[in-house]
């Protein structure tokens, strides 16, 4: 362990020394870290004076300093992103990567050393910048944010830094030139900037008790961990040396996808019996996990509803109750459901949900996709809980209102979610001899096989049952 950490530090130390000796990197970093706080301090001071002069809302005055800290922490990370972006591809372009890879340093040490060096400079620069700003704030007699908020802002800055740097290192491994890596940087900066805007909103409106931001900090750290794992899983010495030119060969990609999708099948029947079956066999464990998770989410949803909703109803004002009743009146009539909501509408809605689960699953290594899936399961539990509260049998609701179409819809949801779960897991799992692109194409083809072969037909049948059969059965128990 000690030997391992010393090797990681060996790589990081060399990188850090290199960074500190590069005035082109050091000068802008220092200017940004030490100069920008003065600028922001002046802006804060003038803005607060302006607001006080014209009687603006006090919330802006209260939140200006935390918001400024937020921005100050972000800039050094963005600028220093270039260090991480060229961590591997820069060495490749300068020809220094081969001696390094020829040494006995193992791949994980190399990766973590680069990550450590890439992350420490921008994060330390951000800390320095924030500290300078806080000193200036204290001298300006501006209102200092509570210690909890300051801790939260430091944690958020660290989380943003690690998230961006771990993504940048992956870009650096996958790119074949510094130019292409830098172009890819916008795919890191833009989403983080959007995330920061929502965080800033929370910071503004939730006040000193912004607990949600702590959950976001945890979420970002989880995502960063997955990104680091993804990077390490696909860090192969061969990959860094084997490719000289980036080629986006659409024909080759389509061919690979089609081969994986079709498998060895020569007919549709054959495709189901061989190719789809093979994909299903690979889904055994993810299916088991998604089923267990769904049951757990269902139970949590049910339990939460029967525990919390009665007291919430007691606290509800008459206006709340009226609003809720009005809302219920607007919901479709079970007797005319077939006319109000079409099979196509339901089918399209469900297909769209499955595709959203996939897309969110891809960008978050299945985490967000699974989150949507589990919310659905928890909602079913919640609805059954509501039935329990109003004195109707949840079992009857399940048997007559959910099960008829659920026989088709729930397996479809399970299958689609299990493929997304597998996709996320496989992306962050090392696989020798395959590039990240190869693995992604295979996983996408696996999803498409299950989706087109099973999920879509199941959803089509479920939509028909839900429109024509479920309402009648549900009515029979509600009478």
């Amino acid at each position: 362990m000690l030997n391992r950490s010393s090797k990681i530090w060996l790589i990081a130390k060399r990188e850090l020394r290199d960074q500190l000796r590069d005035w082109r990197m050091l000068t802008p970093m220092l200017i940004l870290a030490l100069g920008f706080p003065f600028f922001m301090n002046e802006v804060s001071y003038r803005t607060i004076n302006f607001i006080n002069q014209f009687g603006g809302p006090p919330i802006i005055v209260d939140r200006l300093v935390p918001a400024s800290i937020f921005i100050i922490g972000f800039f050094p990370v963005t600028v220093a992103l270039v260090i991480a972006l060229e961590a591997f591809v820069g060495e490749k372009e300068r020809g220094t990567i081969e001696p390094l890879l020829s040494s006995p340093l193992n791949s994980k040490d190399l990766y973590l050393g680069k990550l450590l060096a890439g992350a420490s400079t921008p994060i330390l620069a951000s800390y320095l910048s924030i500290t300078v700003y806080l000193i200036l704030v204290s001298r300006q007699q501006l209102q200092m944010p509570p210690i909890g908020i300051i801790a939260q802002l430091f944690a958020l800055t660290t989380a943003h830094g690690i998230l961006m740097i771990s993504a940048a290192i992956i870009v650096s491994i996958q790119s074949t030139s510094i130019k292409s890596a830098n172009l890819m940087a916008s795919f890191i900066v833009v989403p983080v900037a959007i995330l920061m805007q929502s965080e800033a909103g929370m910071l503004f409106w939730e006040g000193d008790d912004a607990r949600t931001l702590w959950f976001i900090v945890i979420g970002i750290f989880v995502l960063s961990t997955l990104l680091i794992r993804l990077g390490m899983a696909h860090f192969h010495r061969e990959y860094l040396l084997g490719r000289e030119i980036d080629e986006l060969n659409i024909r080759q990609l389509s061919k690979s996808f089609w081969q994986a999708f079709k498998g060895k099948a020569i007919s549709v029947r054959n495709w189901y019996s061989i190719t789809v079956r093979e994909s299903l066999q690979r889904l055994r464990t993810p299916l088991l996990v998604t089923t267990v998770l769904a049951i757990a989410a269902f139970a949590v949803g049910y339990q939460w509803t029967i525990t919390n909703v009665p007291s919430m109803l007691e606290r509800a004002s008459s206006q709340n109750v009226t609003n809720f009743t009005e809302l219920l009146k607007k919901s479709p009539d079970l007797q005319t459901l077939g006319r109000d909501i079409s099979v196509t509408y339901l089918f399209r809605h469900n297909v769209r949900t499955m595709v959203i689960i996939l897309i969110l699953g891809i960008v978050s290594f299945s985490v967000l996709g699974m989150f949507i899936y589990l919310i659905n399961a928890a909602l079913i539990g919640g609805v059954l809980g509501v039935f329990q509260i109003i004195g109707l049998s949840p079992l009857n609701l399940f048997l007559y209102g959910i099960l008829p179409h659920g026989i088709f819809e729930l397996p479809a949801l399970l299958l689609a979610s299990a493929t997304v779960l597998r996709l996320g897991i496989m992306l962050v799992t090392p696989q020798l001899g395959k590039s990240m692109g190869d693995i992604f194409i295979e996983l996408l083809a696996d999803w498409a096989k299950v989706f087109i072969g099973l999920v879509v037909p199941l959803l089509a049948v479920a939509a028909m049952v839900e429109v024509y059969v479920t309402p009648t059965l549900l009515l029979s128990i509600l009478k």
Binding site: N3, S6, D18, T96, P99, E238, G433
Partner: protein, 314 residues
């Protein structure tokens, strides 16, 4: 020490190396010759466990390239095609960094760095940043890096390129010294004179395949035929009178000289000389014609390319 069997590497649809089988014994130097893009670097990268073979296997210093990459790299020193130095480090820092990568103790690192820097004449520049070095100095430092952990196997890709003649000689001397210390060396070079002066064995690689390989003299015999000897006469002599002798092929003749190819010179040359003397030839000298590795290489390449290389060059 280095053994490969059917070693092959495919990139997409292209076989960069196709069925290379080599056997380099301890203390031997193998020169890997071939044009740019012939597959030499890919072969070296497979031997260093940087690229995994698509087919075949290789063992270096007892380690399998496919499964024991990290142990293997401990036993191999590599001088890559590009020197690959960190420009903002000093030479001393650079060697120390790689010494640590090879898990050498601080004392050994210092001792080895001092020795190598002094040997390659870089001691005076040891604390200067590598970016300020000349091309030759950089190449010497890169070679020092490959030697820092005293590996039993050395893979040298163009070790003397960009060097001045004195430095190149220094490096060749170092390679000779390494051979005498029982190190196994694979030398990729375009400098055929250098290969001839250093190598025990030669492999000529073309489009990923080994066209010819063997010990230097055997390979020359195989490619260029039997050794050629020239007999020089003191006085003009009519060569037509020479009676045929078993194992002797006359390749050219004039009044003052005669060129022959002989299979077993130690047996045939005395017979040839006595026969000439008996037939009245006044012999001034008998000498073997020079046959260079360059001639053999060009002949092999010419044959591979369907005689595209001018026969005069050979």
């Amino acid at each position: 020490m280095i053994e490969t069997n059917d070693l092959s590497k495919q990139f997409n649809d292209y076989w960069a190396v196709d069925g290379v089988t080599l056997n380099v014994k301890e203390g031997q130097i193998l020169a890997l010759l071939g044009q740019n893009g012939a597959g030499k670097t890919t072969t070296i990268r497979m031997i260093t466990a940087l690229l995994s073979p698509t087919r075949g296997w290789a063992r270096v210093a007892g380690y399998d390239v496919a499964t024991q990459g990290q142990d293997l790299r401990m036993s191999v020193g590599v001088l890559t095609e590009q020197h690959g130095l960190y420009m903002r480090m000093t030479a001393y820092e650079y060697l120390d960094f790689f010494g640590q990568a090879y898990s050498l103790s601080p004392q050994v690192r210092k001792q080895r760095s001092d020795y190598l820097l002094e040997y390659f004449g870089l001691q005076h520049a040891a604390k200067r940043r590598v970016g300020e070095y000349s091309k030759g100095m950089k190449q010497k430092l890169a070679l020092a890096r490959a030697l820092i952990h005293e590996p039993p196997v050395l893979l040298l890709d163009e070790p003397t390129s960009a060097m001045d003649p004195e430095s190149a000689q220094l490096v060749r001397n170092e390679i000779e010294r390494l051979r005498s210390s029982k190190r196994t060396i694979v030398l990729c070079t375009h400098n055929l004179n250098e290969a001839e002066s250093l190598a025990d064995a030669v492999a000529i690689i073309y489009k990923g395949k080994v066209l010819e390989q063997g010990m230097l003299t055997e390979l020359k015999d195989k490619v260029l035929g039997n050794p050629e000897f020239e007999v020089k006469f003191a006085k003009p002599w009519n060569g037509d009178a020479l009676k045929p002798i078993d194992g002797v092929d006359i390749t050219s003749r004039s009044e003052t000289s005669l060129k022959v190819r002989v299979k077993r010179p130690q047996e045939t040359n005395p017979i040839l000389l006595s026969s000439l003397t008996l037939q009245g030839a006044s012999i001034m000298a008998l000498q073997e014609s020079t046959r260079t590795l360059e001639q053999a290489y060009l002949k092999v390449m010419s044959d591979a390319q369907g005689g595209a290389i001018n026969a005069q060059q050979i």
